[in-house]
């Protein structure tokens, strides 16, 4: 299949895998890093790592979930590196960067949909990631568990807590 072709070094197969999965990978990276530029770097590195490891990837497993897992790990590793390297890193990895406008305030004037999306970003990481992966990417709770490094049950709980919190924030 496609993975086999990619594994044998077929450039076109690799390109197709990128085009098929880059958007999901980007959303995961963005949800964790909350920065577009950092998220784009994360996605590049994640694909390089994933393709570098394709030789051992089992064709019957889900490439998508595997890719999401590698991306989430890469995003967290990047945040850790930035934490060590950058003096302003605490702002970068905190729940909301101190110099950014409060999303809750910022969102009041905006469209309800945009407001919901902005408020989603204020939730704890596993909650916002579970909500995003379930809604934006249609991942099952089992797949989300794999991607965020928790059990299926924990992914379900994170999703429903996130949804409940978001409803409270929207009121």
């Amino acid at each position: 299949m496609l993975i086999e072709r990619a594994r044998s070094g077929d450039d076109t197969a690799l390109d197709l895998l990128v085009r098929r999965h880059h958007a999901s990978a980007y959303r995961v990276a963005l949800s964790i890093t909350r920065r577009d530029d950092v998220a784009q770097d994360v996605v590049q590195d994640a694909f390089i790592k994933a393709f570098g490891a394709l030789g051992g990837f089992r064709g019957d497993a889900s490439f998508r979930t595997w890719m999401m897992t590698i991306t989430a790990n890469e995003a967290r590793a990047t945040l850790r590196k930035r934490g060590r390297w950058s003096e302003s890193a605490i702002d970068d990895v905190g729940p909301i960067a101190a110099d950014e406008p409060d999303p809750a305030e910022q969102a009041v004037s905006g469209h309800e949909s945009a407001r919901a999306r902005t408020l989603l970003e204020t939730l704890p990481e596993k909650q916002r990631l579970s909500v995003s992966l379930r809604i934006d990417d249609g991942l099952s709770f089992r797949e989300i568990g794999e991607a965020i490094g928790s059990s299926e049950g924990a992914a379900r709980v994170n999703y429903f807590h996130g949804i409940r919190r978001l409803r409270e924030l929207m009121e």
């Binding site: 197709l16 098929r20 996605v43 590049q44 030789g55 497993a61």
Partner: protein, 155 residues
């Protein structure tokens, strides 16, 4: 409204809102929503989120393709034939990272705590595609596309 019924419906709502749900389940959701304000409110929230998806940078796919190809050609990373254990380590986030001075920072166990090697592979791709276009294609359809593209390339 029974909690069991709401529980089932709430599980369906994301796929229902995104048009990813099977016919039988769609019927169940459509029958439930008019009489349940709680599930309706949750459905509306999910719809709002779907109405404002994060914007994926237009040129990201191209830049990833380019970086991947460059990385492959330069051979600065091992390409094929990496061990299954190393693959599992990458997937589970077990890595040894170094800082700028080259000091080993130690293993990063965060992801390894709850998933074991076996779990990382137990998954199916399902029918739950993300964005349209290539995302929505089956492997078979993608392979056909591949064939077409290689024929074009050869012509």
């Amino acid at each position: 409204m029974s909690q069991t019924e709401c529980g089932t419906i709430r599980e369906y709502l994301p796929d229902f809102a995104a048009g990813r749900l099977g016919t039988d389940q769609v019927g169940a959701v459509e029958a439930h929503l008019p009489s349940c304000a709680e599930c309706r409110a949750e459905f509306e929230l999910i719809q709002m989120l779907l109405d404002a998806p994060p914007v994926v940078p237009e040129r990201l796919a191209d830049s990833v393709v380019s970086v991947v190809r460059t990385s492959r050609r330069s051979g600065r990373r091992p390409w094929w034939g990496i061990s299954a254990a190393a693959v599992a380590a990458i997937a589970l986030g077990i890595g040894v990272s170094t800082d700028r001075a080259g000091n080993v920072a130690g293993p990063v166990p965060e992801f390894a705590s709850e998933a074991d090697e076996g779990e990382a592979w137990l998954s199916d791709d399902g029918l739950l595609a993300g964005a349209p276009s290539i995302d929505g294609l089956s492997d078979e359809a993608l392979l056909e596309l591949l064939e077409e593209l290689s024929e074009e390339g050869a012509a």
